[in-house]
């Protein structure tokens, strides 16, 4: 074997041509770290999904971060009460880009059994941009895993060229609602 043939062979074995997006998205979707916080009963299904039987580690998601600064995914697992919603939005604002929100359960999607009551928000998508909805009351862990797979597919479909978090002009910080006399008010937007 001449030296050139040898180099050719080594190039075939060791060089891969792909797109930046693919590598970038593969890396991102293989280690989506969720933030570990639960708001109500749905949180227990989330805990189940993280434990041995359903095992989030298979998706690279076993690192439940107790701080928003290290988390990529916010799983809104449970009822968002009006008293809690400002803190949830604040946590979202503290997460670094790129970040995703998964609304888990009827309560987080629409208020669920408590819709239109005096103390429950009618779905967290009133205040946050939700990427994946997982319906159920509560959703089974399999449903949550399906939601994660959907999220992975969504991440793989994104491209670095148009991703909003590298653009200067895109404002991604959500306004934190404040507690008003009858419910939540977004400051500067007048009354609810």
């Amino acid at each position: 074997m001449t030296e050139e043939e040898y180099i050719d062979q080594q190039i075939k074995r060791n060089v891969v041509i792909t797109t930046i997006d693919k590598i970038y998205n593969w890396g991102r979707r293989s280690s989506v770290w969720p933030m570990s916080f639960g708001l109500a009963c749905c949180a227990f299904e989330m805990i189940c999904a993280a434990a041995a039987r359903f095992d989030l580690a298979r998706f690279g998601m076993e690192m439940m971060r107790p701080t928003p600064r290290q988390a990529d995914l916010m799983i809104v697992a449970g009822t968002v009460t009006k008293k809690m919603a400002p803190q949830v939005v604040r946590l979202y604002d503290q997460m670094p880009e790129p970040k995703y929100v998964l609304a888990m359960g009827a309560c987080a999607i629409s208020g669920g059994p408590f819709k239109d009551t005096y103390n429950v928000v009618n779905g967290i998508d009133t205040y946050l941009p939700v990427d994946v909805y997982v319906p159920g009351c509560p959703p089974r862990p399999e449903a949550l895993l399906e939601g994660f797979i959907k999220l992975h597919q969504m991440i793989e479909g994104q491209t670095i060229l148009t991703s909003p978090w590298y653009r200067k002009e895109v404002e991604r910080e959500m306004p934190v609602p404040v507690l008003g006399p009858q419910g939540l008010v977004i400051p500067g937007e007048g009354d609810e």
Binding site: T117, Y118, N119, N122, T126, G180, Q182, G183, E189, E192
Partner: protein, 155 residues
């Protein structure tokens, strides 16, 4: 259980107007003015050392506060006390000096139904936030709740 307690109460407090309510759970109806003395007697003389629940009820013509008493030491109970409060100015005496456990329960009744407890050490909202208007478990509170943001777009 309530029957004997009632008879003893009538002996002890001849001048107060007590009433025995024969229901599924027998109860003793007390006037708000006599509540504190009756409760003190039940606690100190009859051994009812545990106040298990303070409940507020909204009837069409009145408010009512219901107390459930047990005795942990003598393993007896339950004694149910019912107190009426007027619609216009609902106020009953606080039982926190007798049972400190009444503190948060009375605050909750105040928060959700709006009955004031005279003599409560710190009567403020416990579940809802300061600055909330109205008492949501009252029957005249709008059932559909107040409008929240986002609702207009949905409906």
């Amino acid at each position: 259980m309530s029957r004997e307690v009632y008879e003893r109460l009538v002996e002890e407090f001849p001048e107060t107007s007590l009433e025995y309510l024969e229901e599924k759970d027998p109860a003793i109806s007390v006037k708000a003015d006599d509540l504190f003395e009756v409760a003190r007697h039940l606690k100190e003389k009859q051994g009812y050392d545990y106040l298990s629940a303070v409940t507020g009820v909204d009837y069409p013509d009145r408010f009512e506060v219901v107390y459930h008493l047990y005795s942990m030491r003598e393993k007896k109970g339950v004694v149910v006390l019912k107190v009426h409060a007027s619609k216009e100015d609902p106020e009953v005496p606080s039982l926190v000096p007798l049972w400190p456990g009444a503190n948060f329960q009375e605050r909750e009744v105040y928060d959700l139904i709006g009955i004031r407890f005279a003599g409560h050490p710190d009567l403020k909202r416990v579940l809802l936030w300061e600055g909330y208007e109205g008492h949501p478990l009252r029957k005249d509170f709008p059932t559909e709740g107040y409008q929240t943001i986002g609702q207009e777009e949905l409906s």
